[in-house]
């Protein structure tokens, strides 16, 4: 349809005419927050936001990640993990562990039957309570954090930044990665604008913060 392309671009050029002006873009907004990445204050802010979204927050230290996660998934029959997940986090889990990767993906029915999924994250924004995944091997394909009904996301405290621009600028070097921003469990406000958590995405979001 190069014809339509030529015509649309031609119409746009004609519409703009001679006034192809240079529009200056001011950027006076905050790009760095007051709270240092990984500080207690920034983690507290993130926790406040996550709780507001009805996510469940758990605290762990590096040696206790495995047991903290194990307790959260104990009722599941199978649990999905991306192949790049830290093996130390997987010690002593009760459910059967199913590994997923782009090369060897699980089918949708298997994901649907899984009791939970456990992943890492790329970065988290405290101000908005947002966890950002970029599909690298420790976070996996987008489908695995979507289809299972419980998502356990393990986040290191030093991955928590204050403001959204700080988080976006960490992703910016690799914009083409498949990226998902998650702010709490799935929700809808479509009925009388009253918020209900738990629609199509995971109805339970556990965030394990590791310090």
């Amino acid at each position: 349809m190069s014809d339509a392309r030529t015509q649309i671009l031609g119409r746009a050029r004609e519409a703009l005419g001679a006034d192809e002006l240079d529009v200056p873009v001011p950027r006076e907004y905050r790009v760095t927050g007051d709270l240092a990445p990984g500080s207690d204050d920034v983690v507290d802010l993130l926790v406040d936001r996550l709780v507001d979204y009805r996510a469940t927050v758990h605290h762990a230290t590096t040696p206790t990640v495995a047991e903290t996660v194990a307790a959260l998934i104990a009722d599941a029959r199978t649990v999905v993990v991306p192949t790049g997940l830290d093996v130390a986090w997987r010690a002593d889990w009760v459910p059967e562990v199913l590994e997923d990767s782009r090369e060897e993906p699980l089918d949708v029915a298997t994901l649907d039957a899984a009791g939970a999924v456990v992943t890492a994250a790329r970065v988290a924004c405290a101000d908005t309570g947002t966890i950002l995944l970029d599909g690298e091997p420790d976070q996996g394909r987008r489908a695995i954090t979507l289809v299972p009904d419980v998502h356990v996301c393990v986040l290191r405290a030093d991955q928590v930044v204050h403001l959204l621009p700080e988080a976006i600028r960490m992703l910016a070097p690799h914009p083409a990665r498949p990226i998902t921003w998650i702010s709490g469990p799935s929700a809808t406000s479509d009925i009388e604008l009253s918020r209900v958590e738990g629609v199509h995405g995971p109805r339970t979001l556990h965030v394990v913060i590791v310090r």
């Binding site: 392309r5 907004y29 914009p175 998902t180 479509d190």
Partner: protein
């Protein structure tokens, strides 16, 4: 029916009966039903709709105000958002070419559609080539605007809306009445009745709690998500410098559609392009707070062409004009293309809150719809049908300015409304038969252009004081002035005109001293 001065009305259609009563029937998603003045009058009789809307809009206004209030640099973000969009319009051809190049480089296919028919034909062809007879859809204004579902249905392809509110609208064969929450005019009890009547697998004992209704929709749609082979979405932003597309949503239905099917087709209005990936740090703050009144919406998906092994391996982007270059050609009106479809202007509008979205006769209702719809369809220009009902939309406002204050990208909607009113009046100047409005304006112009005439006219208003009596206002005037008082009262004229007062205060001086006193 009363006369509305100078407003055209040539939009006809008959409401159709749905499971929840009459619903509008739209042949053209940008031009359906009666013109605004007629449709608004009828909508005002619907007390249930007005209660539903009043409740919903006041809830969202409070939420928005509280999350916007906690952002200290909100005005700086608005300034940047506004300027980025101005920059986009100024460089639109260049940015679209860059977006196309980057999407193509990452394994996507880019199509261009001049109008709705062309876009619908492309989606239909893609579905047919893959032997797909059912697609899942992410809520999208662009596909509403082109009537995609109806076009696919004619080709024997079922389009399943997966956003809860869109599903409600689709099941009730209704039209959307709000940009963000298209079923905002329905309450929980109406939705319960609808699901029981029209949704496969709805439990017989379904209650009307939003939680139960959402759960019923989850169960209904889950099978479709897990088996769908093709999805259609819109896009909130298309990033030129990376080729990244973005969908902002809440329920996870968007992620399902964007991730699980083999084929994904995204229909994006050409104005949705943004220059750089980091611009998302601005719009990612402006949009959710303005839209749902949340600090962030639950899910935002970003994808760039095709990622081997993750998500759809067959990706198509349709860049849609459908009147956008026409709007761009209006150097004032083009600011309406800055809109990021947050719907904050609807929620604060005193007119929208009372008449609801259907009265606007377009999938884009409310203040932004009142400017965007006429600009896209060319109402009030020689391109539009004579007496185009969309030409009445710029009058659907009190010009109170609440929409401008709420707009995250600072679109000066009141000024655009005034601009389009002027355009409408100009387009009708050459008419052979003048209306009462034209006559009244001519007479007023004649009186006001001469001091002596104005003085005599002022003396004539004494009769109105008699008519007004002790009430202090005139409720009805005889024709032709009844056209004015049909929908408003006329305040009683003051006892004394300014000229008389001036003469009294200055011993008969006729006012020439004013300039000196003020100097």
């Amino acid at each position: 029916m009363s006369t509305f001065l100078g407003l055209p009305r040539h939009r006809s259609s008959t409401p159709e009966e749905g499971p929840l009563g009459p619903v509008p029937h739209a042949d053209d998603p940008l031009r359906w039903g009666d013109p605004f003045p007629v449709a608004a009058r009828r909508a005002l009789d619907d007390a249930q709709m007005r209660r539903n809307l009043g409740h919903a809009t006041s809830t969202i206004r409070d939420k928005r105000a509280s999350v916007v209030g906690e952002v200290p640099d909100w005005e700086a973000l608005r300034d940047t958002g506004s300027a980025v969009k101005g920059d986009v319009m100024a460089r639109l051809p260049e940015l679209l070419a860059q977006l196309e190049e980057n999407v193509t480089a990452r394994g996507g296919t880019v199509h261009w559609a001049r109008d709705a028919d062309e876009a619908n034909a492309i989606v239909t062809r893609i579905a047919r080539e893959r032997a797909v007879d059912e697609i899942v859809k992410v809520k999208s204004m662009a596909t509403q605007e082109i009537g995609l579902n109806e076009a696919l249905a004619e080709a024997g392809i079922a389009a399943v809306e997966t956003d809860l509110a869109e599903l409600i609208v689709q099941l009730s064969e209704d039209m959307p009445s709000h940009i963000l929450v298209p079923a905002i005019h329905r309450n929980r009890e109406e939705i319960r009745r609808l699901f029981l009547a029209r949704m496969e697998g709805a439990p017989d004992d379904l209650g009307d709690a939003p939680r139960e209704l959402a759960e019923a929709a989850r169960v209904h749609l889950r099978r479709k998500f897990l088996s769908a082979r093709m999805a259609v979405s819109g896009a909130n932003f298309g990033v030129a410098d990376s080729g990244t597309l973005t969908v902002v949503e809440s329920e996870g239905n968007g992620r399902m559609c964007l991730t699980l099917p083999e084929t994904l087709v995204t229909v994006m209005g050409i104005e949705k392009v943004v220059p750089t990936f980091t611009d998302l740090e601005v719009f990612g703050q402006l949009l959710p707070r303005s839209s749902t009144g949340e600090r962030m919406n639950p899910y935002t998906s970003l994808w760039t062409g095709v990622t081997p092994g993750d998500g759809p391996q067959d990706f198509h982007l349709i860049l849609l004009d459908n009147g956008r270059t026409r709007a761009l050609a209006d150097d004032v009106g083009r600011a309406a293309l800055h809109c990021i479809r947050c719907s904050a202007c609807l929620n604060v509008c005193p007119v929208y809150e009372r008449v609801g979205g259907h009265a606007y006769g377009s999938v884009y209702p409310g203040p932004i719809g009142a400017v965007l719809t006429p600009l896209l369809t060319g109402a009030g220009t020689e391109d539009a049908p004579h007496g185009d009902a969309n030409a009445s939309l710029p009058y659907a406002s009190t010009l109170c300015g609440a929409c401008f204050d709420a707009c995250p990208v600072k679109i000066d909607i009141p000024s655009l409304l005034v601009h389009l009113r002027a355009r409408d009046v100009d387009s009708r100047r050459e008419r052979t038969v003048p209306t009462g409005w034209d006559g009244a304006m001519k007479a007023a112009s004649w009186v006001m252009s001469d001091g002596a005439r104005l003085g005599r006219a002022e003396k004539g208003t004494a009769a109105l004081r008699v008519l007004a009596g002790r009430k202090g206002y005139v409720g009805t005037l005889p024709p032709p002035m009844s056209a004015w008082t049909a929908s408003r009262d006329l305040p009683a004229p003051p006892r004394q005109s300014f000229r008389d007062w001036w003469a009294d205060e200055h011993d008969g001086n006729d006012g020439d001293g004013a300039a000196e006193e003020n100097a």
